[in-house]
Amino acid sequence: MGKPKIGIYGLTGCAGDQLNILNCEDELLKLFDIFEIKSFVMASREKDENVQLDVAFVEGSVSTEKDLEELLAIRKKSKILVAIGHCAIYGGVQAMFRGGEEWIERYKRVYGRENAVTLSKPLEPKPLSAYVKVDAVLHGCPIEKEPFLKLAGKLAHGVIPRTPDYPVCAECRWKENECLLLKGQICLGPLTNAGCGAICPSLNIGCIGCWGPIREENWASEADLLVEKGYDIDEIVTRFSVFGGTERAQKLEQFLRSRKEKGNG
């Protein structure tokens, strides 16, 4: 078996996931050794886009038609497509729920009119999975070095690993931190994918949810809890919406408002 051919791509995002791959200073040379990197535009001018890839890593959300074209081309030529980072998996902060307003209205307010920029048609930001089949994901904002290396290692051996989906609380408790929720702070730990090592709660800062919502999050219970602690609905919905993507904040707001109306708020 020859060296696996991989490509590392970025759509619309902050490039943090690609940057953190470049941040594997000690392992970077080995990485370039084990894999045949056919495209990594952020690092190298050399690329070959006419090759079938074994694995394609893609960060960033689909925010323009050009992004979409690129994504479809990548999907077509790769055996395994891995979405890396919050933007690729959930849409990023740019996909946050904004109180029911149409995305194109926001765009017009910014650029003046709908077709102000003719370079490529802008689209409402969506994760990769809105358009193509994604074979594996790597959570993060940005992704972390060790999980990326572990994932790359497994993929090099032809294994698609399952993403762990337990909450930040597991790591926070592992580090024996004091629970910030018990202290009355808003912390989205119970709803957020672990893997970051519970960095922010370890710094006494409530988790802001940047690794995205876990699959089976119990946002209703956490919302109830925060209401009990005296936070009002708008505060809670705003906090949940930052990294929550569009749907969750919408559902949450409906849930909390109906509770309030029934007199349970």
């Binding site: 399952r162 762990p164 989906d165 337990y166 909450p167 609380c169 597991a170 408790r173 592992w174 024996e176 629970c179 929720l181 018990l182 730990g189 119970p190 709803l191 699959r215 089976e216 999050e217 119990n218 209703a220 219970s221 956490e222 109830d224 809890l225």
Partner: protein
Amino acid sequence: MKRIAKSKLIEFLKSKGELWVKTREGFQQSDAEAFAGRASKSVKNMVLPREETLLVFFKPDGKNVDYDEIYDDRKRILFGLSPCDAKSIELLDLTFIKTSPTDSYYKQRRENSVLVVLACNSPSKTCFCKSFGYGPFTELGDVFLVDIGDVYLVKILSDKGKALLEGLELEDAADAELAKLEELKSTAESKVQDIGIPKDIADRLYANFESDFWEKIAFRCVNCGACTFYCPTCYCFDIQDVERTNWGWRERTWDSCMFAIYSLETSGHNPRPTGMHRMRNRIMHKFSYYEKIHGQHLCVGCGRCVDVCPTGFDIREVVKQAAKLEVTR
């Protein structure tokens, strides 16, 4: 009951092995005085560590595997366990030693540890150990101590304890000191709860497996796993191999039945797909299955889970509600 000056005992024990003292936070190698109450962290980490390496393996030619098992053979003295800590070790012993096959790692660690139990002078608000037929002054462990001020009252309870204190001169306790013990004991016992667990709770829960009771109680849980990490009797673990190029190691870490991934099978099927399933499993493991298999509930009434839960889930309330369930079959 005998008696000994605190400093004399500590000095003596330091010469007999690695001394681990229970402070307010938990067990540490420390010169601090042992805390006569419920520490934040239980003794679990001492016998079933949060992370341990089980073996190291080598594949020198890439095919055949050589390995070395790693055993912890340190002689340790665990000083200051509360009676609930000692009870939890009894319960863990049932699973890891008394049930075949024996867990050799746990057994080694267990046999190399001497348990010096300290009576619990100041139970916490959420303690309910009385519900399980013992209390803050129940004599458990290899050596039993009571902190009455600047002196420990001492009672040797096992051969291991006797061997530990061999050569140490113990005096007889004075009447005044014994009276002090009684005083501390009745104060402590008045502070712990007995939630009134019915004798047939195991059957009640078992009969109500399909009841909507579980959905109701599971609603609040955010599946953070804090309860399982802090619980002295929760023992679920995960074993993973960490591989490098041609060598690696096998490690065991704590796991939690409260995470969705815990019961996920390779086929993709998950027998406990929702929070309700996992909560039901946890409660039944502790108050139904374990008694049916081993004759005791898998809970020591320490109350830590009540204190660490961010949503205020209270297992005492759950058990009290469960006690009212009918045995319909």
